[in-house]
Symmetry: D3
Subunit: 165 residues, 6 copies
């Protein structure tokens, strides 16, 4: 319980002002983060995406590129994020017929002073938004959900694995 | 039912190649889009965000700025989105004590040739990611969900209102 | 001959200083520009690109996205270019077996005060660079050539068609 | 011959999906890349550029700045390129009277985990596009050609020198 | 005096939350803004800049390009600024021997729904920062001052001319 | 006196051409830069900013975020600046009732091959411009002044402290 009370928002100084926290003294280490999210759509839209994956009109191929590019823009999108030299990004999609949804999984790696959780979560989010953009002429009711960190390794705080993984 | 089958992904040409579709012939009209999403966190993190709103360490104020800035970057983030001159963005937060969640609502307006659904959805997503970033030292298990379009007005396809709104 | 001598570099003022020229007084009109370029590679690399187009490892699909995104960044890349709201971009590839080259064709449209020649030429260039990037593990000797404007319509100066088109 | 067949496109995983390849395990080394390209124009345009270099209206000075800035944007322009901390860029121009062309040479250096070939090639391309932009009021028929890697040193694959250099 | 008390910060809503204010209902008009600023340096640095203007090492030419490019990035730099299609930018420098200072003047034009004061002020600021960057090896004590709006025309609020102009 | 004459603009090569100077051979070291600047406004605007700091309409909180984000964009804004991985940014404001001015102080840190003076100066400048933007409906006559480097430590040239600090 005691250590619980130690936790605080690191992005503010003692006066409650936003800061980009000093990571200058942290050591570089191999770090990897895995994040996931889901976009659920109408059966019609889902079948079109699925068909495109096979032949032409590859929605997921474009969403993958958008997600990779977004992982490189995190320091521009998230105000207090540090600029980073990520060394690896990959994004996978899992088509789930049972509920017409697509699961998006992103893995980002770095050898650096801070973690890449935000890069993985942002890659998932922008890949999902890109799918929405490309399918919205067919279905405007799509929902993006369950964007979450699955696992991260490396760094002083060590390994985190989401309970339900 | 027939017109249903007419619908197709507008971001591909007849050969299945991605295109930024021609909106040159569309007329400019007033368009507004409303989107929403939710981030759910631990009671501890939620109470800290809530306290910050009142005094110092204003997580939501920073997330709002991040969301507004992101609405202006959509054409850079979403590959086939058109560049747009949005004329209005506002973002609201609703703190929901019952489940330690924050609902994020974004409204984007334009007088232009295409809609601003993606701008509203992106503003919500990046505001949520910014909240995640600022609270992750306290809680890594937060989940971002229910990112969806609530309503859009204007344009040739007219008004859309999500059924459950 | 006389009017020939009238021509001057419009991006400088009378003192030779760079300016973003005033287009405030120009009328908006429909404008389209077509540009092309070629990347020539080893037979091995060419065959791999060609195979990827059919099945997996779609180099050209990714180059297309990179070119479309680049067309939206021209005002950031070219110092004296005006910001524009392009309304259309498409990029096509023509695989030329006879010399293991790929021709890249870009068409950009706008209803605006200035032309989109730079947008079309930049889309071609960045698509070519992306192909180079993706194939360079197989062939570092690729050459990008013949980047040129094929045709442009609209605007005060009217239609231009390259002689050899 | 055998190792030739080993070569493959490194930007795809085993399923043909695009990835930003993992360079986390690569060692940092000094790397330099030299690239070149040419823009050919009408005698009239060429003489104006040449005159500007001497006195006022310095097209090449502006193209140099555009090329240097572009070398810093490669990870934003080329989807699967890694973000890099380049440590050096210089761009030279060689005015070739015999055919009214300008040769553009770029050198980029880094101490990093991946090479800077794309940075040098992109610097050349954007410098050439900037020359085109600034001279297009005089000549729309300019052609950008022979964008190629001349030499690169450093890294696991060692030195590459183009055969015709 | 009464209308004085009407004035309020337009970038906040009734609850004090930041908004990008709605300019959708405003009419487009020709608008021009003039801004200025000064950088003061050591005699040694000043003489080097002055010499460079004449022959080689053109600090001011590069600062001008940086200022023009910055005018196009205002909506990315200033959180609540609207994206705009500026139609004109020019930047002039006045070398003032008496106190080793350089006055920077920027003029920005647009036909749009909001003014371009921020674009002119940002162009001046970034041009000044670029001069600082290029001269800092010689003088780290330079001071940038008097960044101010000189005049603006157009729009509902009409013409503003600074008193001391 | 002799070493004084050694000093030269490092951003040009022997022919006066702009270069991004080679820092590849420099060693990484801890570096910190402190910069400051002032914005002076009408009593009315000043009181509104001051009031907002306490309750709602927090101009300074938004200016702080803008300044932090700008520190991460220096290599995009300043043509010959090197890309850097800054590890720390903080921005403070000092409200000066006696002359209705706000002093802006920025501190930027890095462990790298070049200094972060430009990052600190740019953070101050963009924070000031953001204050201007948010207050301009109340006062267009604000002046931004005294943007200067207070101190920098680390690197080969060692510590610099401004004389009047």
């Amino acid at each position: 319980m005691a250590d619980q009370s130690e936790k605080c928002f690191t992005h503010f100084d003692g006066d409650g002002n936003a800061v980009m926290v000093d990571v200058g003294g942290k050591v570089e280490s191999e770090r990897v983060a895995h994040a996931a999210g889901t976009i659920t759509m109408s059966p019609e839209a889902f079948q079109k995406v699925k068909a495109g994956k096979m032949s032409k009109g590859d929605v997921l191929g474009i969403a993958r590129i958008a997600g990779i590019l977004a992982a490189k823009k995190v320091d521009d999108l998230i105000p207090l994020a540090h600029p980073l030299l990520i060394t690896k990004v990959n994004i996978d999609f899992c088509l789930q017929d049972e509920d017409n949804s697509i699961e998006i999984l992103a893995t980002v790696g770095i050898c650096g002073k801070t973690g890449v959780e935000m890069e993985a979560l942002t890659a998932v989010s922008v890949a999902a938004l890109t799918i929405y953009d490309m399918c919205k002429a067919v279905d405007k009711s799509m929902v993006i959900s369950d964007i979450r960190l699955l696992k991260k390794t490396g760094g002083k705080s060590g390994t985190y694995i989401r309970k339900d993984v």
